[in-house]
Amino acid sequence: MNQMTDLSTSDTSPMLRVTDLAHRVSLETDTLTILQGVSLEINRGESVAIVGRSGSGKTTLLGLLAGLDTPTEGTVALDGAEISSLSEDERAKLRASRVGFVFQSFQLLPALSALENVMLPLELAGIDAPEVRAKELLVRVGLGERLNHTPRQLSGGEQQRVAIARAFASDPVVLFADEPTGNLDNRTGQDVSDLLMALNREQGTTLVMVTHDEQLAARCGRQLHIEAGILTEPESARERAH
């Protein structure tokens, strides 16, 4: 709660500040460097696209930014909180209250209905009347008629819309999306990204999105390139950002 009030008072501080980030994993024989020398700031309300080849380390970076993992070197500050100094449970709390996720493969629980899937983060956060809020969001993403359908009964695009509703359910301040349209056809991808951008605007969320899709990347305020674990930002974009 303290941090929540911090947020409103320190609106000018960056949402994400990354300094000298490196990430290595040890394999059986040697260690693999996935990320190296990454420094970066993302301001509140910004929308940022991270593009790069497969295997370049996009997902790894996203996970570190979201506090799903701790970096081998360097620091990540999310909304003023230094992630590597937090315990696993504190990071979880932070995620529950500030962070939303959208995944390439939707990650809905097959046994639960659309409504129950959207209610999950609300229940975790201990929010009252989660059902009301979840219904609202599902109506907003155009699935008001499909509340009790399970993921199996929904198409890919519909599933991703449920996932988007779930991502926005707990009023996150920052949304991480890992190739949200990667599993969808062009048309549907377009619809889903429209929805994502629209909700993002409505809620004033900071958006960090990994994508292959040049068009989608172009719709973000800023593009970052990553190659072999090294992050670069095109000159023009950086100017626009500052």
Partner: protein, 828 residues
Amino acid sequence: MAAKQKLMSVRRDWRERDVRVVLVALVIAVATVATIGLFASQLQRTLVSSASSFLAADRQLESENGRPVPPGWLEEARDRGLETGQMIEFSTMVFGETGFQLVSVKAVSDEYPLRGEIEIQPGADESRSIVDAGPGRGEIWINPRLLRLLELEVGDSLEVGNLELTITNLLIREPDGGFRLSSLAPRVMIHVDDVVGTGVIQEGSRVEYIYLFAGTENLLDDYYQWLQPQLEPSHEWEGVRDGETFSRSLERAERFLLLGGSLAVLLAAVAVAVASRQYALSQRDTVALLKTLGLPSKGIGRLYLRRLALWGLVGVLGGLLVALPLFWVLVRLLSDVLEQPVDFYLDPSALVPALLTALVSLFAFAYPPIRRLRHVAAMRVLRSQPGETGREAIPDMVIAIVAVFGLVWMYAGEISLVISLLGGLALLLVALALLGGLMVAALRQVRGGGNAWRLALVGLYRHRRASMAQMAVFAMTLMLAATLILVRTSLLDDWQAQLPDNAPNHFLINIAPDAVDDVEAFWADRDAPLDTVYPMVRGRLTELNDQPVKEAVSKDERVGALNRELNLTWMAALPEDNEIVAGSWFTPGETEGVSVEAELAEQLGLVLGDRLTFTIGSETVTEAITSIRTVQWDSMRPNFYMAFPPGGGLTDMPGTWITSFHLDQSNKVALNEFSRRFPTVSVLEIDHIIERIQQIVRQVTQAIEAILALILAAALVVMAAVVSATLRDRQREGALLRTLGGQQSLLARSTMLEFALLGFFAGVLGVLAAEAAVYALQVRMFEGGFSWHWQVMLPIPVISAVLLALFGRWQLRPVLSVSPMLLLRRLE
């Protein structure tokens, strides 16, 4: 095709968790049922052989027509590999220096006893010893009472008919002494080859030829098959099972084992069913893929059928691999308890139920869901299809239930067992449906989480379908386990009550009416007070409703009671362990009427009001039946077929008194003094019999505990299988919840709570259903009364809650121990 074979290989199978669960369930099923089967038959054999000493053999053939049986019968037995022996029993007078006495002679062959031991004493003050053969030719062993009656000493000679024999030992205890009040004359034992020399046995003498047989049950059965058609009505083939004091205990132990085995069958079936259904669900994608590759439904059916057969093979072999060492350990334990080596008895036929269990669980439980795989749409490859509604599974379930109960029926051979269990299960499902409906309605109201409790409740609601299914299986499993625990407890209690430590272990018979007070005082002084002392008059039932009884009762009723003298008594109070089933007990002051033992009444077709005439010596007494009562024949107390009221028709008849009492081992020396002071009173020492029975009870108890442990282990495995059936979903959910910000500790606690609640309610339901089943079982199979068992039942829901909470926590372990990032990579 190579790829297809690869897809179907067992090595690959084993790497799949669901297959492992099916195989483990099968192995456990086969192992449990086989172990119980093997152990039960071993136990039965051990018990029979330890009980056999009561017959001095495994079987006896009695010839009651005063003629020996054809020698060919014995030759045949020996040819078949049986041990044989022979005894001749008759009454005669023996003559000593100072007088003569009627004795009951038992002449035995060299082989006697084939089972059990003889206890002798080489002189009145010498120490007793145990031997395994009877007297040699020219010797006679005599009851100590005879020694006193005829003022003899060991070493003196005694005339039996024309033969003079030397007293070489006192006969303290014979293995087949049994407990016959009718043999009141002192016992002497001689060698069978001396019988002819005595010249006592003439044409028409009252004499019993008894033949002893020992060998394996199979040999004995085969021999009896051969012998049976040649037997005459006066021949009686006797095993320990019939009518002996402890046969009821044996029977109950056997039933318990059967029950245990049946429950093992049920549990195994449940485990296999759960695991294979899970497997079938997980196979749908593979099947869809095979279909797109062009494999027809038929081919798919065959593929899976072959796979099932392979599993069956692996399950059976694995099960036997587990069962045999386990059996070995149990037998070792048994021999420790018995403090004597026990021969292994590997009964191949005991394995049949295990094999059938594997077969039935595979084909009635595993096959149906797998068979339905044929109908999976190839379309599934492109787009995941709605899941099964579960409705298609209903006919399968009906088949499965019929199959498994058929199996239990075949196995236990008791329709009442099947009905009791089925009834308990039906009750359980009804209660579950009710409770489930209520719970889901109540849980629907729980909103939001934040704390572990609310999250747990929300979780229960979220997984309501899976939760209900799991609860059904848990409750069933717990019911079966609880049933067994309950039956065990009441069985043990019952035995304990039947033979308490201070159970009477000595009888005093033949107490003269005027000596009763002195005898009572004698033992009261020595801290061994007598139980009730009953008068005993011996008489024959001669007329029924003023008709000769042999005419009144139909011929084919071979009622032994009519051919011999009955023990009649009079008493004011109904003995504690007797129970009136018809009419009413004598009121004080009532002097008319007679109370008849229930079984005899049934055999003779007696009803209240029938007039019975007894001939006692030269006199007759006629009374109408005023009550019918049951008697505990195995109570080790004097029991009577006929009881008259005090002051009734029996009062003036000549009779003696009889009683029983408990005498501690340390106090046994007092018997010597007693015998000196009351030489005419017979002391029947049955403390050995009682010890023996207690030993048997201890064995059976051990066996029961072992089997209970086995079943509980099986129950645990079933529960683990059921919990792990949802493992994948749970872990997926756990991973997602963690990325969405669920704290490890919160997730851990809420999951544990969720499972604990599930376990608790399942426990409560299981316990209630078990009480119902046990009620039915107890009343029908174990002939016991029924009472609630709170102290046994209360812990079960708690234990099941704790266990399931731990299972749940264990299941989440991989989700809680790594970073959410790694989890996400796994989810992708």
